[in-house]
Symmetry: C2
Subunit: 564 residues, 2 copies
């Protein structure tokens, strides 16, 4: 049953999947559910295709709210398009399920349910999010760097509807640039209203290498342990729960992957300009296989380490709630509170306090450009190392093992033939050769097992960094957009077409974005140094142990030949 | 220019390449040179194909000896068919060349000449001898065990012409069985005349495990060193000479591969029932490449070790001449003497003295059968290990090296990207990671080089044993043929159709063959135990050193991360 809609703004199609629409044009839409911010429908000229959901209002024939204005959805509302890749969390339906074993909870259970066969949600390597070829054209795709993975963070916020249309500094024509969609444009232009009560404050201070987030005054870490299979509905559904123990509380909570996923979506929703670490990838099949559970655990540990290390993310109330809440009722309340948080997206920028030090905006621009080039290069090299390490895992489990096993078998065949002429057979030699054969079979198994000790941990770290690095192009884009606004407003002010005061406001707000990005750059580098040092050390240590173990095995075997 | 020949005996073709011929039938032969004992020609019915060279006499129109009777070539003459795989050494042309740099010597120079492009003589893995598919059907092929490589040894002796045709015990119908061709049939039947003067005697005595060759009273070893490129004809021809130093003389001689080859052919010619070690394989191209020269040297060392270890071979006058002669004139004389040696082939059996101990011939048969099964199995397993080790060499030089180099490159790419944001770049970490990359490149090279330390030596030993093992089917066949004659003669004696004395003579001569084979089995097993023990120990030792070196490289690298 086709619905009708009315175009709120002009939209010019830029790809063949899209159709152009005119302000006030009546449209037919094929489904009310937008996919990634796009609706599919037909315009008055009979063309069918995609157009931005936020450019139209749906005309309803039924009573009640007679249209859905996508363009004016408040920043705090849940992403209406999230059903495509994450659990819809509609706050209008009260959360009724139990806490640890919520039978009829409103979250999409797909990640844990093993009784339902789902379509694969993601192409490999895209960290659980739909790959570009599977999703509708992302609105910000035109602005993205080629080769970067799509970043979902900013898809969740629709562009802020401005209460002050016709502001002096022009708006970006491309209303799907992440700069616009994230609300950062609105923030820069001063269109995001100051809330009366701002409970949270995140401070940026000047460090030795530039702006940095003020450290969490109550630092902590959190362990992720004991993935345990749980069942509900008398065993029809099952899921894995992880034991989390924050060091500042030292009393565990138990969380499922979907709880992580809920938290992750809150983080994406709230923390504009922060590179939120991606959750370990989802996997539609074999979710309860031991190897997969182990891998997810290892990667949740790294994710958690990064979360607790981040001065802003670690202090987030929703995160604290996730880590500490042990009461069912409290859980529901805290969840609702997090979902109703208004200081999200553009408003989050209001909670950032920056130092008074002057920073030349062009200098900031240069530092950002250096970081941009660096992050692109690092992304490439992380991908390269990931590919090499993955191939090495394959070789260890396949080729290397096979070669050593074949060698082992051949030695055993020699030993076997030596047994065949008993009067001349020397048992001690035959046994030594046979043992050598078995040793090489063992060495083959050691090769096959070794990735668990070294390459897996390397791949885990690299995966975390692939996620973090894939966030930066969009974050850098925010800063670029803000900086462009500053230059525009300064030109207008110089030409007398804008109050200096308003231009100063824009510059001041741009500084917030610039400081935040630099603090993120700083945090990223700090973690990078620590994480890669640890990764390399751990890899080398494990490799050394491995080669020593192989040579010890062989030494033991060699001794069998001593007294022949 | 086609030659004519006359068939001496009937021959019934058994393969489509062969044609049947009738006694006294006139034949056209296409070439005087037999290939592997076969001539190609046309019979009187116009059929063209192969027939045994020894079944015909060539009719010559020219003066001088008017025919070549292949069937009556004396046992002492050089193999007329040797041109196919070795140097023809026609004793009728006097040896005129100089000793170490014989300019116009009569030996085929192909193995050392680098100015002539030759066709490849052998398929890989056939140890320098033509593979079955390349050569004419070997006469003894029908008697061979499937899977065994062709053995050239017994091709050299044509069947002995019997001076006593119509002997009481029947002759084998298949005159190309190695039993017949080797002259052992004639020996068993008492058709090999006793020479008046038998200078050499080789004794077999009873050891703990049965008959064994009496040890060489003057044991020695001989080193093979310093392969050195020599040139002649002002550099037009070049060859490699090897320095040989026998331990009992301790003064070196210099020999070329073709000298080894001459000696090898003398050994094949003379030592019936002895498993003569094959020379390292020939290689038509790249003969002066360093790797090939090294490989040939290593294999000549093993060949020499086996020669000096053998109680019979090590005492052979021709071998002593080869090892000791330093005088040009003496060399020629000794060479001629060796070539004129009459105690070769069947006559060599006359020089063997056996103990008087009674051995039940059926027991001997059983022991031989056990050895036959063993040697078949060992041949299979040696081939299996050879294949595995060869593949491992390929992997070391190819896959393994490549994997580690790719890992090294990936680490270096990481380090390179880390340099790109200077304010945040930590040189010590970058250097450590870059060094790790270089270390893995080094490890890759170590993998590629490692076969020179371990697998090559294993493959050398295996190649020697492939040669030795490939000799046994024919040697075993000789014993089987002799044993059959004994049973036949005993039956005839029982039926009163043969003097008991003649039957006893056959039995006695069969005992010589049986004792000689058992002595060979015993020697083979003794060497096998020693050689395989050494091979396995050396392989394991080198492997241990290798893995220790890898882990030491990594340990050094790991230390670079210590003070970050």
């Amino acid at each position: 049953m086709a619905l009708k809609a009315r175009a709120l703004y002009n939209f010019q199609s830029e790809n063949k999947e899209e159709i152009s629409i005119q302000e006030n044009e009546e449209l037919v839409i094929f489904s009310e559910n937008s996919l990634d911010g796009w609706l599919q429908g037909q315009n008055s000229r009979g063309e069918t295709g995609l157009f931005p959901a936020s450019y139209v209002e749906i005309l309803r024939s039924r009573s009640g709210s007679n249209y859905t204005d996508y363009s004016s959805s408040p920043a705090g509302s849940p992403g209406h398009d999230s059903s495509f890749y994450t659990a819809p969390s509609n706050p209008s339906i009260p959360y009724q399920g139990s806490f640890e074993d919520d039978d009829d909870d409103d979250w999409d259970d797909w990640d844990d349910a093993c009784t339902v066969v789902e379509e694969p949600r993601s192409a490999p390597g895209t960290n659980g999010h739909p790959s570009p070829s599977l999703q509708y054209p992302p609105a910000y795709g035109r602005d993205q760097h080629a080769g970067y993975r799509p970043k979902p963070a900013l898809e969740r916020q629709d562009s802020m509807s401005s209460s002050k249309r016709g502001s002096v500094v022009g708006r970006n024509l491309n209303r799907f640039s992440c700069f616009v969609r994230s609300g950062v444009e609105a923030f820069i232009l001063g269109d995001v209203p100051l809330m009366s009560k701002i409970a949270e404050v995140y401070c940026i201070e000047m460090g030795s290498k530039g702006p940095q987030w003020r450290a969490n005054p109550h630092p902590f870490i959190c362990s992720v342990e004991d993935p345990t299979k749980q069942t509900k509905f008398k065993g029809i559904k099952s899921y894995i729960s992880y034991k989390l123990t924050p060091s500042n509380i030292n009393s565990p909570v138990y969380r499922r992957y979907k709880h992580f996923d809920w938290l992750y979506n809150r983080l994406l929703h709230k923390f504009t300009v922060i590179s939120v670490p991606h959750l370990p990838e989802k996997q539609a099949t074999g979710r309860f296989e031991e190897d997969f559970i182990e891998k997810r655990k290892r990667r949740l540990i790294l994710w958690m380490d990064h979360m607790t290390s981040h001065p802003v993310l670690s202090q987030y109330e929703g995160f604290q709630h996730f880590l500490c809440c042990r009461d069912e009722k409290q859980w529901k309340l805290g969840k609702r509170r997090a979902e109703k948080d208004e200081m999200v997206g553009a408003s989050f920028l209001l909670t950032i306090q920056i130092p008074t030090e002057h920073q030349d905006l062009q200098d900031v621009e240069d530092r950002v450009d250096a970081f941009k080039a660096f992050s692109k290069k690092m992304d490439d090299s992380v991908l390269q190392l990931t590919n090499v390490a993955s191939e090495l895992v394959r070789k260890h489990v396949g080729g290397f093992r096979k070669e050593f096993q074949k060698l082992g078998n051949a030695f055993q065949a020699i030993s076997h033939s030596f047994h065949m002429d008993p009067p001349y057979s020397l048992d001690a030699l035959n046994n030594a050769i046979s043992h050598t054969g078995k040793t090489y079979e063992t060495v083959g198994e050691m090769f096959a097992e070794q990735p668990k000790n070294d390459l897996f941990l390397m791949l885990d770290t690299l995966s975390l960094y692939q996620g973090l690095l894939s966030n930066f192009p969009d974050i850098i884009h925010l800063q670029k957009g803000a900086f462009a606004k500053v230059k525009e407003s300064q030109r207008m002010s110089d030409e007398g077409r804008m109050d200096q005061e308003e231009a100063d406001g824009i510059r001041k707000r741009c500084r917030v974005v610039g400081f935040a990005l630099q603090a993120e750059m700083n945090h990223f580098h700090e973690r990078r140094v620590a994480d890669f040092k640890r990764m390399m050390q751990s890899y080398l240590k494990q490799q050394i142990i491995f080669y020593q173990r192989v040579s010890q095995q062989l030494e033991k075997t060699l001794r069998m030949y001593d007294n022949l």
